[in-house]
């Protein structure tokens, strides 16, 4: 006899796995870290400068976001609409993509499809070569970082210049991005000044660490490149299927430069970025800036549909990328992670992210959304520690402008991980063994009472109400947290003392719930 313990079951996971789709390939791009999260996190936690920078930056952005969100009386209505629009877009994703392709092509654009990172990199490299360019200017884009486009271009002898200030800081510092919106969030002004002085050939040696002075240095450094660039590369925040319109949201004007001045424009976009209707864009243009930078509106938003004669690039391309997204789509619980509009609100409210920073996640997508998206894009075995990199506090769900239920996906992925591991091994894993033992004990009132009496032995280990070290194998639990000392008497013992015979009631309940 076994008792049902209410734990997530393997049934939906098995059903989904029956139609397995290719995940993002290994050996290319930046979706997998070199260390599991606990190892990388321990390293990050030891860096007190990093923790100070992160605490300062996330506290600032949380306050700004809260202020501008509170201003809108219909914020919840906008969230509901945003969530439903994304759900609707995914429900007929193939049709929306075909419509987007048709409309974008009708206005003179060229649409390419890429199964994965390798194919997308090949397409973009080929297009840059065809344009005869050896240097490209880039708008900050998560997806081109995901696929490792800069590395692929460098291998082909093409230098990619990152033009977003934070991306430039990361690129000049030979660093990795650590935040979706502000890739250099882990750097403070003094460190940025250092990097500029070291790496910008033309910089004023008297540069101060005043932010406007640092911004001015970036302006001067990039101006010549913008005015002479022949190829621009961007991502897309949104693509409207019914109109063939692409949309890029930014602050500095580097995006406008890259989208307007070069003769050739190549946009790489994950297939989940498509939204059905023009009116839908109005919803996201309210949700995104407030959630992201905590502004009523970001300084610049550019939209284009194919080619406009005598205005902007006359050779315009759109690369539609899968790279594991269809594998995410196949997971009925996990697919809502594809709603993500990359605002990074979930990072800024996450107690784990605030302490470890983005590098610990090992993927370009850090924080709570990264903890669900990265393992689904790569297959869980390649990012197995990420679904556990959360306390399940739920702050991310509350902050999410498109209502992605990240805690539920995390729990679902933990279950998938346990299931997939169990299937690959003949021996039961520790979770399965523990649960089987617990189910066996709970199925009989006598065994349960005996187990509880045994648990009271734990009182010998505690001090001040806490147990800091349990013996093996339970030591794995107390390595990361304290356990409370069990009470002197169990509930059943207390009940027996107060009300008499404890056996009849629990017996009836236990047999009622047993399988």
């Amino acid at each position: 006899m076994r008792a049902f313990l209410g734990m997530p079951t393997a049934v939906p996971a098995r059903e989904e796995d029956s139609r397995e789709l290719p995940v993002a390939p290994r050996g290319v791009g930046h979706l997998r870290g070199s260390d599991p999260f606990p190892v990388a996190a321990r390293r990050a936690l030891a860096d007190s400068q990093l923790r100070a920078n992160l605490a300062q930056a996330t506290a600032t952005i949380r306050a700004k976001r809260a202020r501008v969100v509170a201003e809108l009386p219909d914020w919840e209505e906008l969230r509901s609409a945003g969530s439903a629009i994304k759900e609707r877009a995914l429900a007929n994703l193939d049709m929306h993509l075909e419509q987007l392709e048709e409309r974008f092509t009708a206005r003179g654009g060229t649409v390419h499809w890429a199964r994965d990172a390798v194919e997308a990199n090949q397409i973009v490299t080929g297009l840059v070569r065809a344009a005869g360019a050896s240097e490209v200017v880039k708008v900050k884009s998560m997806v081109t970082d995901e696929i490792g486009l800069n590395d692929a271009l460098a291998a082909a002898g093409i230098s990619a210049v990152e033009t977003d200030l934070a991306e430039l800081i990361v690129q000049l510092g030979d660093d990795r991005p650590s935040h979706i919106l502000v890739p250099a969030i882990h750097r403070n002004r003094a460190e940025i000044r250092e990097i500029f002085l070291r790496k910008m050939a033309d910089v004023d040696p008297g540069l101060t660490d005043d932010p406007p002075a640092l911004a001015e240095a970036a302006r001067l450094h990039l101006r010549r490149k913008f005015l002479s660039a022949r190829v621009g590369i961007s991502g897309a925040n949104f693509a409207v299927a019914e109109t063939g319109t692409l949309c890029v949201v930014e602050s500095e004007g580097n995006g406008r430069m890259c989208l307007t001045l070069p003769q050739t424009l190549i946009t790489v976009m994950g297939i989940e970025k498509v939204i059905p209707a023009w009116a839908d864009l109005g919803v996201f243009l309210q949700l995104l800036p407030r959630s992201s930078t905590g502004e009523r509106m970001n300084p610049y938003t550019s939209m284009w549909a194919g080619i406009t004669p005598e205005d902007g690039p006359q050779d315009v391309h759109l690369v539609l990328l899968d790279n594991g997204r269809t594998a995410v789509l196949a997971d009925k619980t996990g697919r809502q992670a594809l709603h993500c509009i990359r605002c990074s609100a979930c990072l800024n409210v996450c107690p784990v992210y605030e302490r470890t920073g983005g590098h610990a996640y090992g993927s370009v997508y850090p924080g709570p959304i990264g903890a669900v998206l990265s393992p689904m894009l790569t297959g869980i075995e390649d990012n197995a520690s990420l679904p556990y990199a959360s306390s399940l506090c739920g702050a991310c769900y509350d902050a999410c402008p498109v209502k992605i239920d990240i805690p539920s996906i995390l729990v679902h992925l933990r279950a998938r991980h346990v299931e997939e591991t169990a299937r690959g091994s003949r021996l039961p894993g520790p979770e399965a063994a523990t649960m089987a033992l617990a189910a066996w004990a709970m199925a009989s009132p006598a065994r349960f009472a005996a187990a509880q009496r045994g648990g009271r032995l734990g009182r010998l280990l505690g001090r001040g109400g806490q147990i800091r070290h349990l013996p093996p194998p339970l030591s794995r639990w107390t390595r990361a947290r304290d356990a409370p000392v069990p009470p002197a008497q169990t509930f059943r013992q207390w009940w027996a003392r107060e009300h008499g015979d404890p056996q009849s009631e629990p017996e009836a309940q236990a047999s009622g719930e047993a399988e």
Partner: protein
């Protein structure tokens, strides 16, 4: 199989035989702001000011003087004015048509004056759509000073009101304050690559 066919086939596999129902979108959000024109202009001015962009107001017959005052204060003499912009330019200003001009030539002028398709009061946004009174996108991008002259009947309250008025086939540029960045410690700093100074002149009573 082509990449296109394969990606589409994967999507169909992922969605399965019984496709999830296409959810109806609950559109309970606001579609109007319910404000008089004067209040709308005040709201726009306040929101622009928050971004560090100044808005001046003037009547139909004061446009030349107001434009002159703005340019004089800026010290701008050589200014790009798109051919289709019907705004009186004061004497002493060197009016450059903007076409044909290279990016480097645009980088050398003192500023640009454009119209706008519309403005959104709640977010302090002006939207350019490349019409003849605004010219191509580079004109409002490369010069360091952007003066936007706008009739007050082009001001709407909300983003949701602006959407149906805009043509999604045109190149659209939404501008909310001057170029800025939050990339250093998440503090908004004004002025990176786009025009570092943005000013708006709202012409009232223009119908």
């Amino acid at each position: 199989m082509s990449a296109r066919d394969e990606v589409l086939a994967r999507i169909r596999t992922a969605l399965g035989e019984a496709r999830p129902e296409a959810a109806l979108v609950p559109r309970g959000y606001r579609t109007g702001i319910g404000m008089a024109a004067g209040d709308l202009a005040d709201l726009l001015a306040g929101r622009l000011a928050d971004y560090g962009a100044r808005m001046r107001r003037c009547g139909q017959d004061e446009v030349a003087a107001t434009v002159g005052a703005a340019l004089a204060e800026r010290g701008a003499r050589r200014v790009v004015v798109p051919a289709g912009l019907d705004v009186p330019i004061p004497d002493g200003i060197d009016r450059v048509p903007g076409e044909p001009m290279t990016a480097a030539e645009l980088d050398a002028v003192d500023g640009v004056i454009t119209g706008a398709a519309l403005a959104i009061a709640e977010t302090g946004t002006i939207v350019l759509d490349g019409s003849a009174d605004q010219g191509r996108r580079a004109l409002s991008l490369i010069p360091d000073y952007h003066l936007c002259v706008l009739r007050d009947d082009r001001v709407v309250g909300l983003v949701t009101e602006a959407m149906p008025l805009l043509d999604p086939a045109r190149p659209l540029t939404w501008i909310s304050g001057p170029s800025a960045t939050s990339d250093i410690e998440l503090d908004r700093v004004q002025g990176v690559h786009g025009p570092r100074t943005l000013e708006v002149i709202l012409v009232t009573g223009g119908r």
